[in-house]
């Protein structure tokens, strides 16, 4: 850090100090809320639980005061605050204040505390009337999570800590964060990881309240699990998009430890949101679902550990600290506590019913649980293997992409297959005739797809099998929609109205289908680009031309510009495809001397068929550089899947509004909890 002049007085002290006080206060209140809720629930003292709940409601207000203090310090360039000095500078545009807040460890912790506190209040509010007993325990657990984040900040990583010597200017923001994607991806990713706490607390709260086997908490838990899953999914997708557009290596997923740390809880949560439907429908898989949500929260905490200076190197960790081991300890504590509660309440989790048949929707859910966990643990093993190799032999062996592709690839394809077949099977059991009836069109589409692709000259059998599987899934979904719409149309609705009513009458089911279609879009893009991408690395000088596939491109010139914080070189390429002129493409490379970081940004021409991608390495004085040129088929479909995915989850989450259903009226002489 540059030494500077000690200012004669610290400006803006009130806001900073108020933020400090609020931070300490929030920790104390979170602690009280935790103890009061848990003790009140276990000793059945309702006023104590109410007091804990009310206290929890004030934590977001207190954390917000701290956040306002941090924001104010950034906006006013208050470099007496260490975090501001380390993550901003006088030249930083104010718009990047948002990114700077979570760019470092302490600020991201404050952001996480704010997210957890707000989500906790919403969840407790949602849960309290429906599941009053579970809500008290759930509130206590959420408070416990809050205490961890707040405690780390108060004692170890205070975002409002003052410096003894005030620098004249700050270090500036990490230049890799100066990209539109970084406004959304890191906060969404962090929000997704920490939001797993909510369904975990609801499930564990029900378990601690002795209601784990009652199944009436399932609806609320599933809603929150789907919200958490959606946030994680969008975060992952945005991260892949950011890697593709900004890191400049032409790819979007490298099985990097940070990427894996976000993927693992997503896998467990995906299994959970599906498996819990079986508990709702059949009163089965109660133990499975508890295990899945415990695994999800453990892996989410593992993810936070890896992101925060865990021992596994990553190309794009940006919140490095020495505090990773604290997260590991808290993860161990959470896992131990959850396992203890699970064993304690094991008897209450016995299934109400048994599996009627191996050929049933329930069996498919069981299989997907197993497969998702296998992928999660294979990914975990590959991610942490370097630690064990170093401990065993002083040699760090990293596990690269070929391992993950080889092991996880087929399992993920099997999961896609189950995603297609499972919804076609009925609950409880399916005869051979039903299976044939349900699968005849999807299976036919799969076979035809495979044959057509082979006839078209495609090689790589794994990719062909994958595309055939995707065709099976899509056909199953479309076939049901067509049949269902046609059936309704026969009753007098026009086709558009019939289609809308079909979806509206079965929102969880058809919202799920929309999500499945989005997953297929993602899978199509990932498969095509993984197997059929073509690439050339070329040394080119201005004036040189080259070709790749149907594309021809001429390196026209390079322009170098000096900015205050960087040296930027922009190459210009004239690009043709066949005889068509496509325009000028401009890949560029920037070097940030203060941060000693270089960043590249590829020039991408994207269509629904393929992406043409040029990325530059370091330029020589005469403009010579190594250019990586790629043709990536069908990548556009990956990014297009995002909005459809969001739509599907929203449709699935909209509460069903329908005429009064056939509800069971309890005889008057039976006392009830519900009003």
């Amino acid at each position: 850090m540059r030494k500077g002049v000690i200012l004669d007085s610290r400006r803006n002290g009130l806001m900073i100090d108020a933020g400090q006080i609020a931070l300490v206060m929030s920790l104390l209140v979170a602690g009280y809320a935790t103890v009061a809720s848990l003790v009140g629930a276990s000793l059945k003292v309702p006023q104590l639980t109410a007091s804990g709940r009310f206290g929890l409601y004030t934590v977001p207000v207190l954390v917000s005061v701290s956040m306002i203090g941090v924001v104010y310090a950034f906006v006013t360039h208050e470099f007496s605050v260490r975090y501001v000095a380390e993550n901003s500078s006088l030249s930083m545009p104010k718009v990047y204040t948002w990114v700077a807040i979570y760019a470092g460890n302490a600020g991201s912790m404050l952001y996480l505390a704010m997210v957890v506190s707000i989500l906790s209040v919403l969840a407790v509010f949602h849960l309290r009337r429906r599941q009053p007993h579970a809500a008290a325990y759930a509130a206590g657990l959420m408070g416990l999570m809050l205490m961890f984040f707040l405690g780390v900040m108060v004692f170890l990583a205070n975002p409002l800590e003052r410096l003894p010597v005030i620098p004249a200017d700050g270090q500036g923001i990490n230049p890799l964060l100066v990209h539109f994607g970084m406004f959304i991806h890191p906060p969404l990713q962090m929000m997704g990881l920490v939001s797993v706490v909510i369904p975990f607390s609801i499930a564990m709260g029900a378990l601690l309240a002795g209601r784990g086997g009652q199944d009436d908490w399932v609806d609320v838990a599933r809603s929150w699990a789907m919200v958490s899953w959606l946030i994680m999914t969008v975060g992952l997708l945005l991260g892949a998009w950011w890697a593709y557009t900004i890191l400049g290596w032409g790819g979007y997923w490298a099985w990097d430890p940070v990427e894996n740390s976000a993927l693992m809880p997503w896998l467990a949560m995906t299994a959970f949101v599906h498996s819990i439907m079986v508990q709702k429908r059949r009163g089965m898989f109660r133990m499975w679902n508890m295990v899945l949500i415990i695994v999800a929260v453990t892996l989410a905490q593992m993810g936070m550990f890896i992101n925060r200076g865990g021992p596994v190197p990553s190309v794009h960790s940006f919140a490095q600290s020495t505090m990773g081991w604290l997260f590991l300890l808290f993860m161990a504590f959470t896992l131990l506590g959850s396992a203890t509660a699970f064993v304690w309440r094991l008897d209450s989790l016995k299934s109400r019913e048994k599996l009627d048949s191996l050929v049933s929707r329930e069996s498919m859910f069981l299989l997907q649980n197993v497969l998702f966990l296998i992928v999660a643990f294979v990914t975990l093993w590959g991610t942490v293997f370097p630690i064990f190799s170093e401990a065993a032999s002083d040699v760090t062996i990293t596990v690269g992409r070929p391992f993950f592709d080889l092991v996880n690839g087929p399992i993920l394809l099997a999961l896609v297959f189950i995603m297609g077949v499972g919804p076609l099977l009925p609950w409880r059991r399916a005869s051979v005739r039903t299976v044939v009836q349900a699968l005849k069109y999807p299976a036919s589409a799969a076979i035809v797809t495979g044959v057509v692709l082979v006839a078209a000259g495609l090689d790589k059998p794994p990719a062909i099998v994958a595309f055939a599987t995707f065709a099976l899934v899509i056909t199953g979904i479309i076939h049901e929609w067509i049949r269902g719409t046609h059936s309704r149309h026969r009753r007098g609705d026009s086709y558009p109205v019939a289609f809308v009513r079909l979806i509206s009458a079965n929102r969880p089911r058809y919202g799920g289908y929309i999500v499945h279609l989005a997953i297929i879009m993602l899978a199509v893009g990932a498969t095509a680009s993984s197997f059929y991408s073509v690439q050339r690395d070329l040394v080119m000088r201005p004036g040189d031309s080259a070709t790749l596939g149907d594309y021809s491109f001429k390196y026209l010139d390079v322009r170098s510009t000096s900015y205050r914080d960087r040296e930027e070189s922009v190459a210009e390429f004239e690009v043709h495809k066949g005889d068509s002129y496509l325009g000028i493409m401009r890949p560029f490379r920037a070097f940030y001397p203060d941060a000693n970081i270089a960043g590249t940004r590829g020039a991408i021409r994207s269509t629904v068929i393929e992406d043409f991608y040029i990325v530059a390495s370091e330029f020589d004085e005469d403009g010579r550089a190594v250019f990586r040129v790629l043709i990536n088929p069908l990548v556009w479909w990956m990014w297009a899947s995002g909005p459809l995915l969001i739509l599907g989850v929203v449709v699935a989450l909209i509460p069903q509004r329908q005429p009064a259903p056939a509800t069971l009226r309890v005889p008057a002489n039976v006392r009830t909890a519900r009003a």
């Binding site: 008290a136 009436d216 009925p426």
Partner: protein, 156 residues
């Protein structure tokens, strides 16, 4: 000024924490436990209804063979009738509920079963009771049992 801010920041949570004790709140915080068997019966009812609708939809779009559809429908209707009996629902209310179920199934149904005149069928579990082919309810009152419980167990 900072002291004032600190006091305000402390007052907010303090008031919130003390408020339930002062106002005697919390009477609905931990309500008396609903009899757990009733809760479970309610959930089983909801699950049976959801299963019926799902089977109806699957069958109406041709995804479910006739035999499986009838088997599923019988299972779910038996479940519904068992739950109603266990909840000591009066006969008139039972009929209302069954009529309500049929209305909801009508929403999903778009064609009649291929064999309308199936005639009375026997309970898939105990084989001795005779069931109405339309709604599945036992035609022999008082003999419907929960297929998942040991013979003779009731939900009292």
């Amino acid at each position: 000024m900072l002291v004032l801010v600190a006091v305000l920041l402390a007052l907010l949570p303090a008031i919130a924490i003390i408020y339930p004790f002062v106002r005697g709140l919390g009477h609905d915080e931990l309500p008396e436990e609903e009899i757990s068997s009733k809760v479970e019966l309610g959930l089983r009812w909801d699950a049976a209804l959801a299963g019926l609708k799902s089977a109806e939809l699957d069958w109406s779009i041709g995804r479910l063979a006739e035999g499986d559809y009838r088997w599923l429908r019988q299972r779910y209707m038996t479940e519904a009738s068992v739950v109603m009996k266990a909840m000591e629902i009066e006969e008139e209310q039972q009929r209302d509920l069954l009529a309500s179920i049929e209305r909801e199934l009508e929403e999903a149904r778009v064609r009649a079963p291929e064999s309308e005149d199936a005639g009375p069928s026997t309970c898939p579990e105990c084989s001795s009771a005779v069931q109405c082919p339309e709604c599945g309810i036992s035609l022999t009152a008082g003999e419907t049992e929960d297929p998942d419980l040991p013979h003779g167990t009731s939900f009292e």
